[in-house]
């Protein structure tokens, strides 16, 4: 049977010239992933690998050792159901070349989405004792608030390579 499935993403709304652009995000809080036209990865200015991308992304967003080069955390806030939680300020920025192949693009997207899904899974295991997609509506809402999926895609350039 032909079942339609795929990776769900949401595009950013079109830019409104009347609304001033949001303040720039500190470089420290941006996890940059560049893919060039030869399908090579540059993660945080170093040559990266799809196999390790997921772990690197999780490490960056969570920053368990409070390292000064990884992302900052917001002040702890009380979230319903979850309790006090420090949401990460980390943002993943994905940029690709016009010559990047779709296959690699999807694999990178897949790893990034998987990183967030795993983080959510772990938090929901801790707080509710079950996986994220088995949660009740309010519970999954709370988890989403604690770990928002912050993957931004900048417009592609001809970075060549």
């Amino acid at each position: 049977m032909d079942v339609d499935s795929g990776i769900m993403r949401k595009l950013p709304p079109p830019l409104d010239p009347e609304i001033p652009p949001p303040p720039p995000i500190k470089q420290r809080n941006v996890f940059t992933v560049l893919v060039n036209s030869n399908d090579m990865l540059l993660v945080e200015n170093e040559i990266g690998n799809i196999a390790t991308l997921r772990e690197e992304c999780k490490e960056f967003v969570r920053n368990p050792s409070n390292s000064p080069i990884l992302s900052e955390k917001k002040d702890p806030v009380m979230l319903d159901l979850v309790g006090s939680y420090q949401t990460s300020k980390g943002v993943v920025s994905l940029q690709n070349d016009r010559g990047t192949s779709y296959d690699i693009y999807i694999r990178v997207q897949n790893e990034l989405v998987a990183a967030y899904r795993e983080m959510r899974d772990e938090l929901s295991m801790q707080t509710f004792g079950r996986k994220f997609n088995e949660l009740k509506k309010e519970q999954s809402k709370a988890i989403k608030k604690a770990i928002p999926m912050m993957i931004s895609e900048s417009e592609p350039r001809n970075v060549g390579g």
Binding site: R98, T100, D103, I106
Partner: protein, 157 residues
């Protein structure tokens, strides 16, 4: 003395055809139930990439499809091998997307428009340039929910 007549004198008896209609109807219903109507005939070759984080598309009536890939074999001589966009039954350019999305919206209930999803069925060999153009156009059109159609694969490495 009782007489025993010999049975089965006139050759083999004919097979009863009483159940023939049953069989014919069973086959007929079987094919009626299992046949799926194909909505579009694909003019591009698509082998989707694999991913693990897939979600099923819900509410298929709210999904519009955009196909991108190289033309199928029969059409290569006419259209070449460059990836092309297919909307409904014909090749289209990025500039035709506006019309397509608006037509899709008009076909639905006004209340359902915010829940509409655009499914991008793209061949994995395609370059991102054409896809970026499509995404940019969809953004301008405010069709923000998209779904990259993928096969559910084992962990791609």
């Amino acid at each position: 003395m009782a007489k025993f007549g010999r049975k089965g004198k006139g050759g083999t008896p004919g097979i009863s055809t009483a159940s023939l209609p049953d069989i014919v109807f069973m086959l007929l219903f079987f094919f009626m139930v299992t046949t799926v109507m194909r909505e579009v005939s694909l003019k591009v070759k698509i082998s989707p990439p694999e991913a693990t984080e897939v979600k099923k598309l819900e509410k298929k009536s709210l999904v519009s499809y955009i196909y991108i890939g190289p033309p199928i074999k029969a059409l290569i001589s006419v259209y070449g091998t460059e990836p092309r966009i297919q909307l409904n039954d014909a090749y289209a350019g990025v500039e035709d997307l506006g019309e397509y999305i608006i037509a899709e919206r008009e076909a639905r209930n006004e209340k359902e428009v915010p829940f509409m999803t655009t499914s991008l069925k793209v061949d994995k060999e395609t370059k991102m340039g054409i896809i970026s153009d499509v995404k940019q156009k969809l953004r301008d059109l405010n069709a923000l929910k998209i779904n990259y159609s993928t096969k559910k694969g084992i962990k791609p490495q």
